[in-house]
Amino acid sequence: MALPSSQQILAVLSHIQDPDLGRDVVSLGMIKELEVSHEGKVSFTFELTTPACPVRDRFKSQAQDLVGEIPGVTGVDVRMTANVRPAFMRPKPSEILPGVKQTIAVASGKGGVGKSTVAVNLAAALRKSGAEVGLLDADIYGPSIPAMTGSRQVPEQVNGRLRPIEAHGLKLMSFGHIYPGDQPTIYRGPMVGKAIEAMMIQVDWGQLDYLVIDLPPGTGDASLTLAQAVPLTGVAIVCTPQDVATDIAVKALQMFRKLNVTPLGLIENMSWYICPSCGHRHEIFSHGGAESAAKRLGVPFLGAVPLEEGIREDADNGTPVVISRPDSAGAKAFVHIASQVAARTSIQSFRQLPVINVH
């Protein structure tokens, strides 16, 4: 029997559509190192745009089935890998965060909805999927990343640049690391901007697939500085379900839209609570507010996180819940959200900014 040709194999693989990018996986360049042995064994590398790809397993079995059906194929070996692509074709090599491929901001507008909890667990979930991840705490007044990650050491200085703190496989930097203790940071707006810029420029972030940025509440200085200093891949907006929270989240989202930063979607935190003694599901802050707001605004709904004692406990103890209790409902929700965020950022790597030429 004749051996199958590479063209034949690519032709069947081109039937696999990437649901997020809306194109087939062959034209997206995801199929690499295709080889056919003399015995009819086919092997190739399937390179995803993120290790946290939500359809990873489906892609693998689809590829195996489709290639396996070609006459003459005796075996299929699919190697799944991932290579996160940089967010934009930048006009010139960036001086700010040169080794960072994707920057994801976590914002809310309103305070106390769990931005930092979401940011820490999002970063940890992306790390668990195999990506290189950094987490920048842009909350100058109320830094909570050091406590939530159990990292309270002061960063070392090497050649005039700060080394990020390493914890749980993540690279971290927070004002709480630089100025530990209970002394407040008393800064006016412009100083906040400078501090955030310094954490991007003077910290040696190295090579990262994702840099998650935990923003303070509000639609002012910190968010503006960030949106002006780096081309953000996108912003994930966290809110709690009640109207008073979703209304402010919508304002934050609209601000980022004005700054041409893509909203990756809305996340609903404290979505429900399972009472440990009676087993009843309570919706303390209502339920579904973020999902309906997302629908109204035409942005994706990324997922809902329950109110769980474990999430709070582990945050206070310094370990993100996706690491300490991976089987809990909260951890599963965060992992789901991380894969949704990763999928949305992959779309951004195919987006183009205007090209500017000066003569």
Binding site: A229, P231, L232, L259, V261, P354, V355, N357
Partner: protein, 84 residues
């Protein structure tokens, strides 16, 4: 300066046009106070030649002129609406 937009559309701008369109508070005026561009009739050549253009986040361009004036942040929608 020439911009090729995401949809393939191309617009060419002259430095002079961009200088006179500078959206900064000094040039445009603020809080009822008229800006410099409404007071002056002519600008010297250094003010009309571009020294550098930098991307501001992903929503705007900051254009620096030879004279040192660089406070204008030209958003993409603003530039798109600006026609020669």
């Amino acid at each position: 300066m020439e911009i090729t937009w995401e949809d393939g559309n191309r617009i060419t701008y002259s430095a002079e046009q961009l200088r006179w369109a500078c959206p900064c508070a000094e040039c445009r005026g603020e809080m009822g106070a008229p800006g410099r561009l409404s007071r002056v009739k002519t600008l010297i050549p250094e003010e009309l030649s571009i020294k550098d253009v930098t991307l501001v986040g992903q929503y705007a361009l900051q254009i620096a002129f030879e004279s040192g004036h660089a406070t204008g942040i030209y958003t993409f929608p603003y530039l798109r609406a600006l026609r020669s």
